[in-house]
Amino acid sequence: MALAGCGMLLGLALHFGSLRGASGAPSLYHDYCIIGAGPSGLQAAYFLQRAGRDYVVFERSHAPGSFFALYPRHRKLISINKRYTGKSNSEFNLRHDWNSLLSHDRRLLFRRYSRDFFPDADAMVRYLEDFASLLKLRVQYNTAVVHVMLERDSQAWNGHYFLLTDQDRQNYKCSSLLVATGTWVPNVVNFPGSEYVEGYETVSINPEDFAGQTVLILGRGNSAFETAENILGVTNFIHMVSRSRVRLSWATHYVGDLRAINNGLLDTYQLKSLDGLLEGDLEDLAIVKDKKGKLHITLRFYLENRNTSAGIDSITLPQDELDNFATRAPYDRVIRCLGWKFDFSIYNRSLGLMAGKGNKKKYPQIKPSYESKGTRGLFVIGTASHSVDFRKSAGGFIHGFRYTTRAVHRLLENRHHGVPWPSTVYPITQLTNSIIKRVNEASGLYQMFGVLADIILLRENATTFEYLEEYPVGVLAELEGQTGRKAPNGLFVVIMEYGRNFSGADKDVFYYNRAVGEAQHAWQSNFLHPVIYYYKRLPKESCFLFAFTRQKLPPFCRQGYMRMQGLVGSERLRHHAVEAGLLEDYTLTDFLGDRPPDSHEGSQDHLLRDHAIPVHPLQHLVTAKDEL
């Protein structure tokens, strides 16, 4: 009886839900809507929450980070979790922590979640759950946004509202939309016989299932190699096909390329252990299944010319004509590991959310400010925003987009709430110090090299300056509008870059003399190095001497000493400076003064002169005024 009642209630609730949706009940409003409670969605939620904004996160699953609950299939994350650096500097340590999100809560550091250098994906799922719950982020689970459209309204922040519809036809209205859905739609290639191909999403991860089999893997990314790595030891052999050559991340500095941890197959390939790598366009491929269930590779070209009614025997295989066709042996399995793309399907055409071009077509088109090119107020964050720095920097990965997400939040704070980009004002004497400090420890500059830059805005008379951290350098031109800070007196841009010609798929990155050591060769640095687009030196010297011997004081004296903040130093340090020839030691002449008082004055004068400057008997040149 009780059971029946329960069922009734559930039915009622469901019925009520659908009714409300159908009747077009008033949509729920939030200033900010975030689609997706993955790492970037939660990261954005954190900043909005801290700023006290009205926001909501929609997550179709019952828990955050649903992608990580499934992927990577073999559960090993390739983002490093370096627990020890020998430093206590929390900012610096983030440089080597690729999994944590940014927060003030020290409990939410990933090293507390896994001891592994390459952690298990389950740890990430646990971490994201904790991140959402410990920080009390407002995530609405089990809500799949199925449609997004615009509602024009001149009162709205951006001239329109975003109307979101979920699977229950509930509508939500938002002023600003943050798309944090990542890329989760598997890339599929269609060719004759592609129905025989297993997807990475569903392929068995038990190596035993592959024992004694011959496997063809389509794709050459980390997922393909990860799959190969898993079954390497039990298969007859593995072949891998993809259009492009393999790109090794240690040669390209790009963490999305093949990581050394997955490259076991390269080893066996180069050490002649049956496995093979092939280059070819998957679009030209065709697979035919023979009677024994073996899969044969052929070319679409042959298939198109054949008699359709005939059986498998009539199909020409390349090896019929070509003696040494590489994939002549039939395969037991073909696995597709071609990566993912952005889900464009839920966006109404009016949003103009277009796919990128060329190798960025898996990402939506956005500006360097992460705003959609087609719709104002729609920001793409997280992995889906990687088109900004695809194959360059780390914007497609947690350790990169945690910073770009913060940058997006800062842009929004300025645009909608009049909160200018956070900045610190320093006295000009701290110019080099503030740069060195950041270059030493900043993690955002370090991870998002070439994308985020620190900006130094000189105030009037250059006695003070403002320091802005991690601004997207792609929109440098719009700095004043985007940050609410003024730059009338020039600015420095501090950014990290790799040497231009150092890395690349074909380059020898271990060549002799790859490091430079001296200042004048700094520009040739191959490794990640700071680049400052304008540099001004502030020397320090004896202000006391200058105060009395020059009409104008050098700038550092005007700023420090004259404001009674000079450095006095110890006797020992002064001694060092004298040794280096930087400071004159006037105490040395003291021995003259220490002479017994009864010594003849004239002889003392003489000595003094002799000591001071050797006098040459050339009178013309010494102007007469000295006799004064």
Binding site: Q520, M564, L583, Q604
Partner: protein, 837 residues
């Protein structure tokens, strides 16, 4: 700078390349092919032509014909046409018929035959041009074989014109051609004399080892008056090329000494235009004659290396030290003129020649490169910042930091709760100033050892950036004192041990300290109250307020907050305040100032009541009447922006001087200058000040008047006068009236970066590989095809910079990892060869 020059030269070469490539296209047409009749009828009077007669081209004559074709273009620049005369088969006339004619070339002027050349004398373009010009310029270029011939010519020229004497090892060489080409241009101005006899060169006093190479000497015969003496000679240092000769002659033609009467920054002479420095001898009316002689003497020494100008200071208003006697202007644009005090003409010459030496080193690319590297390394071994260098030299020493508590992000807040006052030094361990201050801080810890209620601690912001950001640390280092209750004060003074200690000490008591009884107030003025500070020497300030003057009291309290730690301030406003004010003859609100332990108490009436005014009054009153200037206290007196009257004393003040100076200072409390003294024993840098004022150390003690804020003139009190109030006052009167001449004037120069900045953009530009066409042409074409007309300009003459090698120099990374240098050098050479192939 040199980079800019290179770029300039490069574009110049590029122009040349364009010009020459156009010429090359046209060269086919420059060689005329005519029949004998056409040729002889085309000859114009006065026009020279080089003709070659041929029936048909015999294979043996082919290379010669090519050379003659190539030289057609070069010769055309000198108005000489080159003609190939095709003899008809049956022709047996004078030139066509002769058997040997076919192995000869004929030079005609008009229709007169000047010379026949055997074809083997015309082996390449250089030899053709050299020989043809040699024949044509028979009068302009005398060929001599013996010393007697040379002397005869020289004697004949004395008083009339100058002579250019050139030695070439053989005729028909490139050097020979260069001399002839120069003679073509300058032959009417100077007499050219050529020899191939090396002995002649030896006899001219050039007994250097490399006599075998070609040389050129300019003989100044025009000014020679003494017939018995040989003419003065100036040898050309560079190799004999058209450009170098042209440049040398241009320099020889310039006046020996240029007299200028304008700002050296604006002066430009042929020397500067040719990339040579210009030396100014600074003269004045009184010493004009001597200076002129000096200038001429120097000019002769520097002839061909630098220009010399005589600058009359009386005519130009120069803001430079009176002692300066020489100025040096380099051709580098934007580099300011350097003013120097030199003792000797030798110094002037080494000044210039050293510079040349440096340039020469840069010219000889390969062998000397390593030396140069060393030089660079040496520079880089020493940081240009005193503090950074000193700290880095001291880095191996471990600091005695045991007494200073290390705080972390975790322990910071709890530590603040433990002691009444926690002093925290926020610093960055990578920063030099922080480390220097840390050293002083350990000394502070020594001083304060055992003081109760004070905990000294430090936070390394490199380790704990979070807490530093939270505590608003925007500078390194920052010192803050946290009171248990939560209040904190930030230190903003000198980073000396004494100042830091005093700040920490004074912060122990509240500021201003409220005194409750009249006894306390009296004790306070005597320095006995509060007991915490009784052992500590300081000046005390007491504000006396009546109950009616609460506004002034509030301002005083506010001022106390601002001055906390820097000034000892007390406050008394009980009912019996009047008794106190009566005792010291002030009416409240008033300040009582007790210097040196209440020996004397000064009363100061308070009229202004704003906080800022109050702070200013207190700061002003704390200044001494006749202070000893030290490094630490100078800024306070500089802020008054008044002239300084400084008594430099080697040791303590003499009683007499002390008395007189004090009188001078005291009797004019509102006077317009700061009277002070400086103990050279305590402040040895004072010697540096004196050395800057006078070239030599004056005898001590010495009294100096210096107006730092207007004019920067330095005056020295006459040492024969005794230091008395009267003498000083009358001297000051004279100064005011402008009757005294300043000993020196302080430089008003703007501060520029001490070292040139690395122009990375320029380096990158240079390292970009050039299109191979351009470089190869540049090297081949420049020496040969430079048209003499265009070299008449001043800018066209520069040494060829080894541009490629420069580019490679910056282009090769990591050359500086010491220890691997030899290997690296080998690599580099290899690279160079490679690029040459």
């Amino acid at each position: 700078m040199s980079a800019r020059k290179d770029r300039w030269v490069f574009s110049f070469f590029f122009l040349l390349f364009c010009a020459s490539s156009i010429r090359m296209q046209g060269s086919a047409r420059l060689l005329q092919e005519l029949s004998p009749q056409e040729y002889f009828s085309s000859l114009q009077a006065g026009r020279a032509s080089l003709a070659y007669f041929s029936h048909n081209v015999s294979p043996g004559a082919q290379p010669f014909l090519e050379q003659i074709e190539n030289s057609a273009e070069a010769l055309q620049d000198y108005g000489i046409s080159v003609v190939k005369v095709n003899c008809p088969k049956e022709d047996v006339s004078r030139y066509c018929g002769e058997e040997n004619a076919l192995r000869k070339a004929y030079l005609f002027r008009g229709n007169m035959l000047i010379r026949e050349f055997p074809t083997d004398a015309l082996f390449d373009v250089d030899s053709i041009v050299a020989n043809v010009l040699f024949a044509l310029l028979f009068n302009e270029v005398k060929y001599v074989e013996t010393l007697a011939d040379l002397q005869n010519i020289e004697n004949a020229l004395k008083g009339r014109s100058n002579m250019v004497f050139a030695y070439v090892p053989a005729t028909g060489t490139a050097e020979h051609r260069a001399v002839m080409e120069a003679a073509f241009v300058y032959g009417t101005v100077h007499q050219f004399v050529l020899t191939t006899e090396a002995t002649l060169l030896k006899d001219t006093g050039n007994d250097e080892s490399d006599v075998l190479s070609a040389r050129l000497l300019f003989c100044h015969c025009q000014q020679a008056t003494d017939l018995a003496q040989p003419c003065r000679r100036t040898a050309m240092g560079q190799t004999l090329t058209m450009l170098n000769i042209h440049r040398h002659l241009k320099l020889m033609g310039a006046p020996l000494v240029t007299e200028v009467a304008e700002d050296p920054e604006k002066v430009s002479t042929v020397h500067l235009q040719l990339g040579l420095p210009l030396v100014f001898i600074l003269s004045q009316k009184e010493t004009y004659e001597a200076d002129r002689r000096t200038a001429e003497f120097v000019a002769w020494q520097l002839l061909g290396k630098a220009g010399v100008a005589l600058l009359s200071r009386d005519l130009v208003d120069l803001n430079i030290l009176l002692r300066s006697n020489v100025a040096l202007k380099t051709p580098d644009e934007g580099e300011p003129v350097k003013y120097l005090v030199l003792e000797d003409t030798d110094e002037v010459i080494t000044l210039v020649e050293d510079k040349n030496k440096v340039e020469q080193i840069q010219e000889d690319e390969e062998e000397n490169e390593e030396d140069e590297d060393e030089k660079e390394n040496n520079n880089q071994d020493v940081q240009d910042d005193q503090v950074v260098e000193a700290v880095s030299r001291d880095k191996k020493r471990e600091l005695p930091l045991e007494q200073i508590l290390v705080l972390t992000e975790e322990t910071f807040h709890s530590a603040l709760l433990e002691t009444a006052r926690t002093v925290v030094l926020f610093y960055a361990s990578w920063e030099a100033v922080s480390l220097a201050v840390l050293r002083s801080y350990t000394e502070v810890a020594d001083h304060l050892k055992g003081t109760r209620g004070i905990l000294l601690s430090r936070v390394n912001c490199w380790d704990w950036p979070g807490v530093c950001t939270k505590e608003n640390v925007t500078q390194f280092p920052t010192m803050k004192i946290y009171e248990k209750g939560g209040r904190s004060v930030m230190y903003n003074g000198m980073w000396g041990t004494e100042e830091l200690t005093s700040f920490i000490m004074l912060n122990q008591v509240s500021c201003p300290l409220r005194l409750a009884t009249i006894d306390e107030a009296e004790g306070y003025l005597r320095g006995e109250f509060p007991p915490e500070l009784s052992s500590y020497h300081h000046t005390s300030l007491l504000g006396v307020f009546s109950t009616a003057t609460s506004e002034a009291r509030e301002a005083f309290e506010e001022a106390g907050n601002l001055l906390s730690g820097h000034v000892m301030m007390g406050m008394y406003f009980e009912d019996d305040a009047l008794a106190l004010s009566r005792k010291y003859a002030v009416s409240p609100p008033a300040l009582l100032l007790a210097r040196s332990r209440g020996q004397s108490v000064e009363g100061i009436a308070l009229s202004k009541e704003s906080v800022q005014d109050m702070v200013q009054i207190i700061r002003y009153e704390l200044l001494d009447v006749f202070p000893e200037i030290t490094v630490q206290n100078l800024p306070r007196y500089l802020q008054l922006r008044k002239p300084f009257l400084i008594f430099f004393s080697d040791g303590d003040l003499g009683q007499m001087e002390s008395k007189e100076m004090l009188k001078l200072a005291k009797e004019r409390p509102q006077q317009a200058f700061v009277a002070c003294w400086l103990n050279l024993k305590k402040t040895p840098v004072g010697r540096g000040v004196l050395k800057a004022y006078f070239a030599t150390m004056p005898s001590l003690p010495v009294l100096i008047w210096v107006n730092l804020h207007a004019g920067g003139h330095v005056f020295k009190f006459p040492s024969e006068l005794s230091i008395t109030e009267m003498n000083i006052l009358s001297w000051l009167e004279k100064l005011k009236a402008g009757l005294e001449i300043p000993s020196s004037t302080l430089s008003e120069e703007d501060w520029k970066p001490p070292l040139p900045a690395y122009d990375f953009l320029q380096m990158m530009e240079m390292a970009v590989p050039e299109p191979p066409l351009r470089t190869s042409h540049r090297h081949r074409d420049v020496p040969q095809q430079h048209p003499p007309e265009s070299s008449g300009g001043d800018t066209g003459v520069q040494e060829e910079p080894p541009q490629d090698s420069k580019a490679e120099k910056v282009g090769s990374p990591g050359r500086d990892l010491r220890g691997t240098a030899p290997r690296l050098a080998a690599r580099e050479k290899q690279g160079k060869r490679h690029s040459e192939l």
